[in-house]
């Protein structure tokens, strides 16, 4: 029992980028365990997706035809059946919204320990040692899984994507789906937000976060945006408050942006937000908290009060 089973994610016929990162991480882990990397593609056009997973380090790709799109009941049954057939040491998935919707159920069904949102992992004598973020990414903790097999979800953006083209056998895995246990029905998809502005097109984006405090304080940012012809984006809490339309939300559940400059003002740098700004050429961050995780990814860090720094910047550029 030393193999790794990686369950990839796809949506509307497209493999998601996190799946290629999963293969990279899975290949390294399989090497460390001296085992094989098995990859599962469930539902959709599984065979076409399998072609894109033919990468170095992958030993076998298993396609499971059930379901047109993601359905958590189907995924739980399919992963359970494949697990029973392969008996892997570790089940890996990306840490995504869909993973949150089925992976905990897989762990319960198989009575396996589960560690989610892992940013690093290492095989040790004690077990599989994982690293996770705590307290809104201000602290890292090691969590060692002392029992194997186990289930682990990996934070997107933390591993290099698997490269190369291998010659990987693709095997169709069939199991008997228990239709009576499928209690959920996916009815469709919709785009969120009405879209009053396209933040993905901006060269200079000012991202505003919770540090702004009150809605009336936004004038500080609006003044700077007016002087610099910048576009204003927002972190999730401000959109939740109804201060901005969803179309201005940057992050995992909002838009992914790649401006020349992203000026993060009063944004702590929660992982969900950081996921959306990694493509920026330059990140400048202004925050009072010296431990704010945004500083870990910023090119230029200003530990200071935005209400002192931003009006001064506006005046200098006026």
């Amino acid at each position: 029992m030393s193999d790794v089973l990686a369950v990839v994610e796809h949506r509307r016929g497209e493999i998601r980028d996190v799946s290629l990162e999963l293969l990279g991480a899975g290949a390294d882990l399989a090497d460390d365990l001296d085992g094989e990397l098995h990859v599962a593609v469930i539902g959709g056009n599984a065979e076409a997706i399998a072609d894109r997973l033919d990468r170095d380090g992958v030993d076998v790709i298993h396609t499971i035809a059930d379901g047109a799109e993601f359905n958590h009941d189907v995924y739980v049954q399919a992963v359970g059946a494949l697990y029973e057939a392969l008996e892997p040491a570790v089940v890996l998935t990306p840490h995504t919204v869909n993973a949150l919707d089925y992976v905990p159920a897989v762990a319960v069904d198989l009575d396996l320990p589960l560690v989610t949102d892992v940013i690093d992992m290492e095989v040790s004598d004690e077990g599989l040692q994982t690293t996770r973020s705590l307290y809104e990414s201000k602290i890292d903790a090691t969590v060692t899984i002392t029992e194997r097999p186990c289930v682990v979800t990996l934070r997107p953006g933390e591993w290099a994507r698997a490269t190369g083209v291998g010659s990987v056998p693709v095997e169709d895995f069939e199991f008997e789906l228990d239709e009576s246990a499928v209690g959920s029905r996916v009815e469709g998809f919709e785009e969120a937000g009405t879209g009053d502005v396209d933040v993905t097109a901006a060269d200079f984006l000012i991202g505003v976060g919770r540090g702004i405090g009150e809605a009336e304080n936004l004038s500080v940012i609006e003044d700077l945006a007016a002087v610099t012809d910048a576009t204003i984006a927002a972190s999730r809490p401000l959109v939740d408050n109804g201060w901005f339309d969803t179309s201005r939300q940057v992050g995992q559940s909002g838009k992914t942006v790649s401006p020349d400059v992203y000026l993060a003002v009063g944004i702590s740098g929660a992982v969900q937000h950081v996921a959306g700004i990694k493509g920026a050429d330059t990140i400048i961050a202004v925050n009072t908290d010296p431990h704010a995780p945004i500083f870990d990814i910023a090119d230029q860090a200003i530990v200071g009060d935005l209400f002192d720094v931003i009006p001064e910047l506006t005046e200098q550029l006026r």
């Binding site: 919707d101 899984i145 919709e190 720094v309």
Partner: protein, 264 residues
């Protein structure tokens, strides 16, 4: 119908803290009601106010300290509160999400709600798995990362809108009873009134131990061990700008000019 809300007391570290012997000392930690769970609670209380639900009960796993947070939930409109605790739960047992689900499942079975609402994740450890683990332990349906839902009592179902990455939402129908994990932004959580807080002080919190719930010690044997805490490694090439606000503003302006997004 009855709605049960699971919520966690979460810890946040102060702006200035130190890691001592691989841990954060308690003096640097501030405890509060988990933000995601506040939205779950508001959804439940709103349904009661609309006459759709009759009762809202909360369940929390936490030491005596968490009574303050539980009273905050009562002040925000919960009718009753259950707290699960035993000193054996200190340390590693709660690191394993299945242990939390095993502790909560008997409470749900005894209360027999139609709906369990839970926050998507806890702000401190961010496992994001308790709600779905609980649903599966109960053999119920579930929906994760829900930012809207509509009950259909005649069809005994709930229609949920799930927030996927990249601004895409999925619409799914689930059979009841179900557990939903609630995303922030689904509503506008109310503040606790002073009167509500005063009344909550007088309310009794039903404390139950794992043994009373029929969850025995072997279920609490940790399979996960929390090790040392460390500060995340910095990328290393971040330029920290010293000086007063005008000097800091000048440094930003220089960067903006250098990048060509503003002109002199």
């Amino acid at each position: 119908m009855k709605i049960l809300v699971t919520f966690a007391e979460v810890a946040a570290v102060a702006d200035n803290f130190e890691i001592e012997d691989g841990a954060v000392a308690d003096r640097y930690l501030e405890y509060d009601l988990n933000e995601w769970d506040e939205y779950a609670l508001e959804a439940a209380v709103s349904l009661r106010e609309e006459g759709i639900a009759e009762e809202v009960v909360t369940v929390t796993i936490g030491p005596e300290r968490s009574a303050d947070t539980i009273r905050m939930a009562l002040a925000k409109g919960a009718d009753r509160a259950i707290r699960i605790w035993d000193d054996d739960l200190r340390g590693d047992p709660l690191e394993d999400v299945s242990t939390r689900a095993a502790l909560m499942a008997p409470v749900v079975e005894a209360e027999a709600p139609t709906l369990v609402l839970s926050g998507v994740q806890a702000a401190d450890d961010g496992y994001g798995s308790t709600g779905v683990s609980l649903a599966r332990t109960l053999g119920w349906q579930w929906g994760a990362v829900v930012n809207d839902f509509t009950l259909d009592r005649e069809a005994d179902s709930v229609r949920v809108r799930r927030e996927l990455e990249g601004g895409i939402e999925e619409i799914t129908t689930l059979s009841l009873p179900a557990v939903l994990t609630i995303q922030t932004g689904i509503n506008d959580p109310r503040y606790a009134s002073l009167r509500g807080l005063q009344e909550a002080q007088a309310q009794e919190i039903d404390v139950q131990s794992p043994a009373e719930l029929g969850v025995w010690a072997d279920r609490l044997e940790p399979r996960l061990e929390r090790g040392e805490l460390t500060e995340p490694p910095s990328r290393g090439d971040t330029e920290y700008v010293e000086g007063d606000p005008p000097e800091q503003a000048t440094a930003i302006a220089d960067r903006l000019l250098e990048a060509g997004v503003v002109q002199e």
